[in-house]
């Protein structure tokens, strides 16, 4: 049984059918990439998994339990954390307070200190900036903070929505290194990306999404070598 099972998912925005019956699995320990052009429906799928939007049909199961209609705020307690599209850090809070928000549902002070130190050791800049207002960080630093905030709760499954968006190649590498590092330490990852090349290079498996439908699936290297994919997503 997969850690995350999405079956025949359908989502509508009014009369627009954004997701038209999508199924996919994320197995424990994997990095699964979901690639597709702008507007394909990647974010909509993420929001259906994390409960921020309601579904017109289909089901979502996590670790064996049905979370199709679970409220968004209950998911982090089950072990699903997300780095949303556009980072969505709390701009008016400090770096430290943002990290604390990531630990909101938990109580253990000792565990909090441990997680905090771990995040600071991944990204020492966050420690230096711990009392800085998060809105004043650079885009790359904000993405590091968003990743760390999501990892504070030690999730089983990490959802990442376009973590490379708007970042310089240097920061893209830093973020992707972090993704691989947390994966090695046991966190399963579902990664949504427009940067297909980068995503496929670290993915165990990947799905290709086109206007609300899955059109292709395979291992990361299979898709990297796929002629059609090369033409459509990797620029030749």
């Amino acid at each position: 049984m997969a850690l995350l099972e999405v079956r025949d998912l359908q989502v509508n925005y009014g009369l627009i059918k954004a997701i038209k019956g999508v199924s996919f699995d994320v197995n424990e320990g994997e990095i699964v990439a979901l690639i597709g052009a702008n507007g394909a429906g990647k974010t909509t799928i993420m929001h259906s998994v994390n409960g921020l939007i309601s579904k017109a049909g289909g089901s979502v199961h996590f670790a064996g339990s049905d979370i199709t209609h679970t409220q968004a705020h209950k998911l982090i307690g089950l072990g699903i954390a997300q780095v949303p599209e556009g980072r969505r850090i709390f701009q008016e809070l400090t770096v430290y307070e943002n990290l604390k928000m990531g630990f909101f549902i938990k109580k253990s002070k000792a565990e909090f200190e441990m997680r905090l130190e771990e995040m600071y050791s991944h990204f020492p800049i966050l420690k230096e900036r711990s009392s800085q207002i998060a809105g004043t960080l650079s885009g790359g630093e904000q993405q590091m903070l968003a990743m760390s905030r999501a990892m504070m709760s030690s999730p089983k499954l990490l959802l990442l929505d376009e973590p490379s968006m708007g970042l310089s190649p240097l920061y893209v590498n830093i973020i992707f290194d972090m993704i691989q590092a947390v994966n090695k330490q046991g966190t399963t990852v579902l990664l949504v990306e427009q940067n297909a090349k980068k995503a496929l290079s670290i993915a165990s498996r990947a799905y290709v999404l086109e206007t609300g439908r899955m059109v292709k699936t395979g291992t990361g290297s299979e898709l990297l070598g796929d002629e059609e994919i090369r033409r459509a997503y990797l620029g030749g």
Binding site: R88, M101, I105
Partner: protein
């Protein structure tokens, strides 16, 4: 010397406006709605004092705060929660409906004639040339305590931090595991309890009450919240104090006194022209 007395009275009146404005601004920041029934909670609090005054003044104050706190929760659950996600206009009209409902209930129960609510006969503090009513001093002290406690609560408590997170980005807050409905409920409870306290302070100063008792302070406090920057807690404090001082200064000059309300709203307009988000308000960033 008159000037100092006027200033102290202004600070005290401003404190009352600020306590009410805090309710408007917190609800706006967190639930993203204008609760136009907020002023009427003050009135309900005042009548609650009246009902329990025969038993004991302190009990009356405590009951007033508790009753309004519960009333705030009930109003939110019954009237506003079903409209979550509805158009702002629908919510606004519902709030106006709640306001009329509360006023009408008070009219049915207590009648239209003013009732006297004399919580205590406090007298005046005489310091040579300066004399200040004790009710003014008590209001000032209450204001300082309320503002300090609320600021510390928002800054350091877990629920306070969650409130800030929700007001900044509701969906991101949900992803952190914050139960939005619970935070909204708590916000209404706090705002309504503060309205009750403001009502008690008002009654200490002017001890009469009618079913429309909350309307004017409600509008003034709403103005104060907008002047300070709606959604901002320090903004509500600054706006309230500013409005209270302006009001007392205007009323102290006989030639200007009739135009007091006009001047207050003129200040609102000028501030909004210069800074549309209010003195301490922040522009909401567009999300990418």
């Amino acid at each position: 010397m008159d000037f100092i007395v006027t200033l102290v009275n202004g600070l005290s009146l401003g404190g009352i406006y600020a306590m009410i404005a805090l309710g408007y601004t917190m609800v706006y920041g967190i639930a993203k709605m204008l609760n136009f029934a907020h002023g009427d909670v003050i009135m309900v609090g005042g009548y609650t004092v009246l009902v329990f005054l025969a038993v004991n003044p302190v009990l009356a104050i405590v009951m007033s705060v508790i009753f309004c706190l519960l009333l705030g929760i009930v109003i939110e659950k019954v009237a506003y929660k079903p409209l979550r996600g509805a158009s702002p206009l629908a919510v606004l009209i519902t709030a106006i409906g709640v306001s009329y409902l509360l006023q009408s209930l008070a009219l049915i129960i207590f009648g239209a004639a003013p009732e006297f609510v004399i919580i205590a006969n406090l007298g005046t503090l005489d310091l040579g040339p300066i004399s200040i009513k004790y009710s003014t001093i008590i209001t000032l002290v209450a204001t300082v305590i309320v503002m300090t406690v609320l600021s510390l609560f928002v800054k350091y408590s877990k629920i306070g931090r969650a409130m800030v997170a929700v007001s900044e980005d509701r969906d991101a807050a949900r992803l952190m595991g914050i139960n939005i409905n619970m935070i909204i409920t708590i916000t209404f409870a706090i705002g309504s309890a503060l309205a009750a306290l403001a009502g008690v302070c008002s009654l200490l100063n002017v001890p009469t009450i009618t079913p429309t008792y909350g309307a004017m302070p409600g509008i003034k406090a709403f103005t104060a919240a907008v002047i300070g920057g709606i959604g901002s807690i320090p903004g509500a404090m600054v706006g309230g104090i500013l409005l209270g001082i302006v009001e007392c200064l205007c009323k102290a000059v006989p030639e200007i006194a009739p135009y007091t309300i006009a001047i207050e709203f003129a200040i609102l307009i000028v501030i909004l022209l210069v800074k549309p988000t209010g003195i301490l308000g922040k522009k909401r960033r567009e999300k990418v």
